[in-house]
Amino acid sequence: MKLKAVRFVGSVGGLSSSSSSFLRLPPRFFLFPHQRPRSISSSAALSSVPRLRLSSSSTTWPPTSHSHSHSHSLLPQLPLFLRPPKYAASLSDLQIWHDWAKSLAASVGSTFLDSDNGPHSSLLCRELGWLLEDALPEGTDPSSLLSQMRLGAPTDRVKLKVGIRDLYSLWRRRIEERRPFQYIVGCEHWRDLVLSVQEGVLIPRPETEILVDLVADAVVSKVNARLNDRVWADLGTGSGAIAIGIARALGSGGCRKVIATDLSSVAAQVASFNVQRYGLQDIIEVREGSWFEPLKEFQGKLTGLVSNPPYIPSMNIPGLQAEVGKHEPRLALDGGADGLDDLLHLCHGAASMLRPGGYFAFETNGERQCKFLVDYMENELKGSFLDIQVVSDFAGFQRFVTGFRQ
């Protein structure tokens, strides 16, 4: 497989360009959102980033549903909250939309929940609030706007980051097509990050947040003080969540390099976008390729290895919640017959890639997989690992397997 560093592919006016070039973003663009929440003026960022694709026509954003391709035609989309507030609507029009959207959400009741464990209407209503939050300019408080809707002058105009007609179609797709909320707004709040996501990239899950804490704990624990230098890897990085989380948790002095790999080029590009937005391009290197292939030069040298590989058993895929099964990439979910194909590959890889004392942490589908992996490592890969542990998530499911290379 061809190894290549993934770069941003810029394009102008929606025409994709095949020439690769690093997207040059001004330093302001890289402020951490947690430091200055939503303070990045998207209009400023955008005006100085002409090469980032922004469809000018309101009907082409966000992109319509598609089977994602690995070609360069699908470029990182700008999340709604980063777009400039170049639209406006009257307070009363916004209120009419809001009432409509709310009643659409309410009409769902528990039908999604009953059919495939999907969201209840109360959850959809909360999402509606967040959609409004993202669609309004920074510093506009949706709840005070809503109370203003009841009290204020209906002709007052409100600035928006998306046209009111698109608000209708976005919400309709959320409910009727079960398109994930995070794809609607183009981002997911994960840990203290706001990560750009789009069709073709797995939306990072809350469970996975803990992986970052596990790494931080492992590095902090005195026994492994030496874990804090050198090279870490996040395999199957998706949106780049884990890699960015680790790089920030360990600090610039804490890790010299994090290599983030993914087989999907959309994922690699979105990851690069997120890495740059957090100003971590000097620490995190995104590489496109299958599992360890892009890491050959680090054989036996990796300090740490973290991954949340696809782990859902193939037979479970058809029964998944619509938001997942119908919209998220199968490549990110399907772990083969018993869901262990990639995890087992990673276990073997950990044995050969980690340096002695190196640390690994994998996410799994639950107790069965955890038990299997522990057993496998202790017996089939006997002598390779030390201190193998199973860690539960906050819902009480056994979720992670961690340990050290002997």
């Binding site: 999402e127 967040w130 899950r205 919640q321 906050f394």
Partner: protein, 517 residues
């Protein structure tokens, strides 16, 4: 001299007498005040150096004893006698003796004189001014007696609001504790005491100085008249007018003199029994606070909200950010009752519903926080069903934290990531534990100074009647408003201020039994 060192690094003298005078030698020695009050917006800095950030005793009228040096007090007399003695001796006792001592750091024991107040050179005291019942005229009238009487009344009210006697007692207890040789073996505890002492001290000084300033100006006016110095007379009269204005502001300020009052806070509302009707009421109450906070210009964030099944909320927590948010909102603690024709009752019957309100101050960074042990926590999230992980995509990331030793449970579900929900739940937990710790401390203090507070939590404080008549009435103060809608739109300052003044302005002696106890 031993200095209590507070964590913020400011040193606070541990002895009342010394400390009241420690600022005297040399011009304007500042005692860094660890008190929040130095940050209060109103300061009487315009007149003779009574700014609380540079506390010092005012110059006595004729300058003769302004350089009084350290004095040592004993605590055989009640503390407030001591204060009065200090004032007395510092301004009207023989000056030559005192000024000679200033270079030797002389020690002067105060005798058990009867309580003598600060007074003018001809013996007029603040009490005296009050009891002579001079007519108080409009501010524009240039009658000094009227100004003086108005200021004296304010001082009286301010002292009441500050719970002056209680303050002195507490100060004495703190000073005695801080004098103990082994107190600094527990630096955290000692730091807390010393910080509290420092803040009491600056509060007391502010009042003492204000009194002194009043008397000084009266002296000046009398002197000016004797000497026919009309310029001086006018100047002093203007000073009195200024003081009169400031005193009104100080009165208001004194309503919010509690240590936690300047803090931001959480407001929690919980629906009482009664299902949907009560949950709807709880939502109305929460909305009332949101609107109130917005009116006051406070920041409002919803931390947690558990919706009712049909309408309203089971409970909710908001964070109210801004100066004195806690000071005001604490008046709302208790049970709020609603009487109305229920919109949820097809038979249009009258219903009574209840909602409970709790208010928790959020301590500033400077103050000591309770240390939370990770191992004391049980953190879990609501299972969303299924295998979790990759199989589920729900934007729900609610977190529940149980603090096992205390059983305190906090949930948070309003942030957009689990990590942030956890962080904000931890912040609420921290504030609750801090509050618990303060309650524990207060109880310990109460054992020393007798039970001084009459705050009772959780009782019914206010009734909102929509039917058959319309009225909102506070059961504690009898303050009432005939328009429930305006109240529910957040216009509750009337209730808050009347409660604050009612609880502070009643006769202090009714609840203080220091001498007797």
């Amino acid at each position: 001299m031993r200095l209590g060192r507070s964590r913020s690094g400011s040193s606070v003298p541990t002895n009342l007498v010394r400390s009241l005078f420690s600022s005297l030698p040399g011009p304007r020695t500042a005692i860094p005040s660890s008190s929040h009050r130095s940050a209060s917006p109103v300061e009487s800095s315009s007149t003779a150096g009574s700014s609380s950030s540079v506390p010092r005793i005012l110059n006595p009228p004729f300058g003769s004893c302004r350089n009084l040096s350290h004095q040592k007090g004993t605590f055989s007399a009640p503390a407030y006698d001591i204060v009065k003695n200090i004032i007395r001796s510092s301004c009207s006792s023989s000056s030559s003796l005192v000024s000679r001592r200033r270079y030797f750091g002389g020690v002067r024991l105060l005798s058990n004189q009867a309580a003598v107040e600060a007074s003018t050179s001809d013996g007029l005291t603040v009490e005296g001014i009050l009891s002579s019942q001079w007519t108080i005229l409009d501010e524009s009238e240039g009658d000094w007696k009227s100004h003086a009487a108005a200021i004296a009344q304010s001082i009286h009210l301010i002292k009441k609001r500050l719970q002056w006697k209680k303050l002195l007692v507490r100060f004495q207890v703190l000073s005695a504790q801080l004098e103990k040789p082994d107190i600094w073996n527990d630096p955290a505890h000692a730091g807390r005491l010393s910080r509290e002492q420092g803040s009491l001290l600056s509060r007391m000084k502010e009042v003492v100085e204000f009194e002194r300033e009043l008397l000084e100006n009266i002296d000046m006016i009398k002197l000016a008249r004797e000497e026919n110095d009309s310029e001086l007379e006018l100047e002093s009269l203007n000073a009195l007018v200024r003081m009169r204005r400031i005193s009104k502001e100080k009165e208001l300020e004194a309503l919010l003199a509690g240590e936690q009052d300047p803090c931001s806070c959480y407001i929690e509302v919980q629906a009482g029994a009664g299902g949907t009707e009560s949950m709807d009421w709880a939502a109305m109450v929460m909305q009332m606070y949101k609107l109130w906070a917005q009116r006051r210009g406070y920041g409002v964030t919803v931390v947690d909200e558990m919706s009712g099944d049909i309408a309203g909320i089971k409970r909710a927590t908001i964070k109210v950010d801004g100066e004195y948010a806690f000071g005001y909102a604490k008046s709302e603690v208790g049970v709020h009752r609603l009487v109305r024709i229920s919109p949820f009752d097809s038979n249009k019957r009258r219903h009574t519903s209840f909602a409970a309100v709790a208010v928790i101050p959020i301590q500033g960074d400077g103050s000591t926080r309770v240390q939370i042990n990770e191992s004391d926590l049980r953190i879990d999230r609501f299972r969303s069903g299924g295998a979790g992980g990759q199989s589920v995509n729900k934007t729900e990331s609610a977190i529940r934290i149980v603090h096992i030793p205390t059983g305190i449970t906090v949930t948070c579900q309003n942030e957009r990531s689990q990590h942030m929900n956890k962080a904000s739940a931890m912040a609420v937990l921290q504030s609750r534990l801090d509050q618990l710790e303060r309650a524990r401390q207060a109880q310990m203090n109460a054992e020393h100074t007798q039970s001084l507070t009459d705050i009772s939590w959780g009782n019914q404080i206010r009734t909102y009647v929509m039917h058959p008549y319309r009225m909102v009435k506070d059961l504690r103060t009898n303050f009432e408003v005939s328009d429930p809608d305006s109240v529910l739109d957040g216009d509750i300052d009337g209730f808050i201020l009347s409660y604050l003044s009612a609880s502070l302005d009643k006769d202090e002696d009714d609840r203080l039994y220091w001498e007797g106890g």
